[in-house]
Symmetry: C2
Subunit: 278 residues, 2 copies
């Protein structure tokens, strides 16, 4: 469809919003990933919520298009029409997310949409509280530190040290308000060849994480270089025994090696049938 | 445009993806917020990545439309055309995010987009590592527990107990790979009326959080009911003195009371001019 030179031009991609910019960024990055031969310089501009800021933003966009010698790409979720118009006048391709979809939604729902910035904030106080509570729960029940609140857990992740338990628990809390505790499978547990006593009453809440020994070895070496803990021999042993325990005890599990924290978290939710709390 | 009865019908909104579903969910929720008189039952269906799962999903959608007596709304980011076609045949309004925007992007960029699921995973290993490192940094440097690694911090949040420091640090780490430490402003610091000695070398990295005393009082009462710590008198005193310290020491600050964790994090980035690390 085009010459090589066009395809490899550097472009600037802007994610613009009158809020955090998180939605326009997530969607924009996801779309741009489909154009893997292009190099995009990504710039997020949140809180563009006044005409003055819109004019400043428009200047930044035009400078980028001029500098790159190619139109900037804009992904925006600006609610206010007047502000959006200022951005629309720039020399750029505007992927106008709200404009594209509010029309069809209004038609189907038979009502006009309301255009007010920040409306979510007020109604989301309970969501906020739920998430903070879940984050505190994850922190308090991290790494087997405490176990007496396991009865309140939605899920208890188990796995060898550095298999991804803590970030996953925090993500489940932050994104979905899920109370996730985690308990490390240590060498002693492995030597005993049985499920740690403390976990037995909560068997149906357990979910096992595993990881490829090579990757585990790399991660542990960053933390404690050249230790027995980080040796490939030790990693092999621990992973093998943990996986054996999951099978023996029929605990659902997943291998985290090739997944992002988001993917690990959402896959656990599907596999363990955990419902979001917010 | 319509009668009241239509406007208040309950509908089911589906966020469907062959990945985590986080993007379609973020965009969908954001769009549905504009229709505040409607009640939407929200269902996220991630990892719909085979024709078999697509058929199952289609059945779920059709049942929902039938049960509600009104078309379900689908927000999808399914990459595979064959899978998307199965979903499109359902009795629902499909907000087809990729279909809407890949066309204009292809035209502007002069190339066809590539349609491969999960492509991001492989290229994102460095992003993953950066985030895990930042999460570990936030956990290790939480609540003034350790201060010797403050030279590695991108930002150090300060504020009274329960003003929102920990969740904000974790969010900055998880979403942007930013190394954020936090240090609690305690009663002793307030009595001394000066910036804690340990923070002085890092003055340019400090960012202050504050909160309305009423809200702080509520939050603290959940943690330690009827304590001196949770009393409105104590909350008033601590907040007042902390704000005074920020002004005296010219430390940028923000009031967290009416904001979500995402908003607090992104506003700090703008105010303190911190760049994302991934």
């Amino acid at each position: 469809m085009t010459t090589k030179s066009t395809a490899t031009t550097k472009r600037t991609a802007f994610f613009i919003s009158d809020g955090t910019g998180i939605t326009s960024e997530a969607l924009g990055v996801s779309l741009l990933t489909r154009f893997e031969d292009h190099h995009f310089e990504k710039v997020t501009l949140p809180y563009v919520d006044s005409l003055e800021k819109a004019e400043e933003t428009a200047e930044i966009i035009n400078s980028a298009s001029k500098r790159d010698g190619a139109k900037a790409i804009i992904f925006d979720t600006i609610v206010d029409d007047a502000i959006r118009k200022v951005i629309k006048k720039t020399d750029a391709l505007m992927i106008d997310i709200f404009a594209a979809f509010l029309g069809p939604l209004e038609k189907e729902l038979g009502v006009r949409s309301s255009y007010k910035v920040g409306r979510t904030r007020i109604t989301e106080n309970s969501r906020y509280d739920e998430r903070i509570e879940a984050i505190n729960y994850a922190l308090d029940n991290d790494d087997g530190a405490r176990t007496k609140l396991y009865n309140k857990a939605d899920v208890i992740l188990i796995g060898v040290s550095r298999s991804g338990k803590t970030p996953t628990c925090l993500y489940l809390a932050m994104q979905y308000g899920i109370k996730a505790a985690n308990y490390p499978i240590t060498e002693e547990d492995i030597d005993d060849q049985v499920l740690p006593q403390i976990l037995k009453p909560y068997r149906e809440k357990l979910f096992g994480l595993t990881i490829e020994p090579d990757r585990l070895c790399l991660i542990r070496n960053e933390r404690k270089p050249n230790s027995r803990y980080a040796s490939i021999k030790q990693c092999n042993l621990e992973v093998e025994e943990a996986e054996l325990m999951y099978r023996r005890e029929r605990i659902s599990s997943m291998n985290t090696t090739h997944y992002s924290v988001e993917e690990i978290a959402t896959r656990i939710m599907v596999k363990a049938q955990i419902q979001r709390r917010c």
